[in-house]
Symmetry: C2
Subunit: 209 residues, 2 copies
């Protein structure tokens, strides 16, 4: 296997944490997004969508997003379990993982990509250039605040996002929470549920690094 | 089990087709989105996100999005297989399903929700009111056209979206293609790959209805 990563980007960080939790050692290639390496022909021959992460399997199959990669690694290396053991648990974890991805990560990306000077013409990942929409940056920021509140409410009632143990949903959520610092959206002082969860999850070896 | 559906909406249609392909008979409740039934307290007690589809399991667990519901039904009723049999196939199908969802369904929703008169203040699903952003409607339309082209290119090389057999990725893609008719984005005359695939997939009993 070969893992195409970018050490500064949130989406491949989800895979980095997943790999660390599984205690796997996968050869890793850094793709320099700031230098536009992902838009060059050499990388687009690997991933036409021009995004990281990518996991290249030994048979040449390429997996082009962090969810697909997680599904593969969970099946191929079942322990420790991160995505559920039976039908109900698998579905519940997938639901919370989706919440963290759509309401958290996607909201922060919407804000950052539609406002950062360095991302003009790069409002959406991928090979097509889309111009920034300032109103969308503002909406992303509102959604990010809403996500933080929803996450805190959930973590006031539940030890981890999907229940009583650490799962892939917590990985996506912690990446989303950290990514939101880039747009200066942080948990309020009294977000006790979220802070209690962070103080545990953020010390895990794969999350620290 | 109980399935909360809305016969006119695309997301629950994904579940309807999935259920039909599995030949399951699940008691179904229609939620009238046009009348705002999803925003009322009674439904929000079932799903705080105020969206359909919802699958309520016999133990009271509620699954709140079509992906989680598919994961549950695939585990609980494995045949016919719609989501892959081994690690690689599961991951590849998930990747194409995600492509159809993010690049297809989400693009069409972005266009429709940010332009339709009946959706003022409803630019995003869920309980929070977000105003329409006209530039985003236009961007969604561009993305929808791009999706149709990408889908056609893939289906020129491949019998089905994720390979040589019908899977959940085809379900999401056919729902996206049909949803795009609402925003008047249709496959061009020479989209032969897409049309060949449609002429097969669209005749499946669960897709016709």
């Amino acid at each position: 296997m070969k893992f195409y990563d970018c050490a500064t980007a949130p989406s491949p960080r989800r895979v980095r944490i997943f790999i660390a939790e599984k205690e796997l050692d996968i050869p890793t290639v850094q793709v320099d997004l700031r230098a536009g390496e992902h838009l060059k022909d050499e990388f687009r021959a690997i991933n036409p969508h021009a995004t990281v992460p990518v996991l290249e399997l030994d048979d040449g199959t390429t997996l082009l997003d962090s969810n697909s990669i997680s599904i593969y690694l969970e099946e191929a290396f079942p322990e420790p379990n991160l995505m559920g053991r039976d039908a109900t648990e698998k579905a519940v974890i997938a639901g919370w993982n989706r919440f963290a991805e759509w309401e958290g990560l996607a909201a922060a990306a919407e804000c950052l990509r539609n406002s950062a000077k360095g991302m003009k013409g790069r409002a959406i990942t991928g090979p097509v250039s889309y111009e920034q929409i300032p109103d969308l940056a503002e909406r992303g920021r509102q959604r990010a605040h809403h996500f933080i509140n929803e996450l805190n409410a959930r973590l006031t009632d539940s030890a981890f996002l999907a229940g009583d143990r650490f799962t892939v949903a917590d990985i996506t959520a912690v990446v989303a929470v950290d990514f939101m610092k880039w747009i200066k959206v942080e948990a309020p002082e009294d977000a006790y549920g979220l802070k209690r969860w962070c103080s545990d999850v953020c010390l895990r070896p794969g999350v620290v690094n």
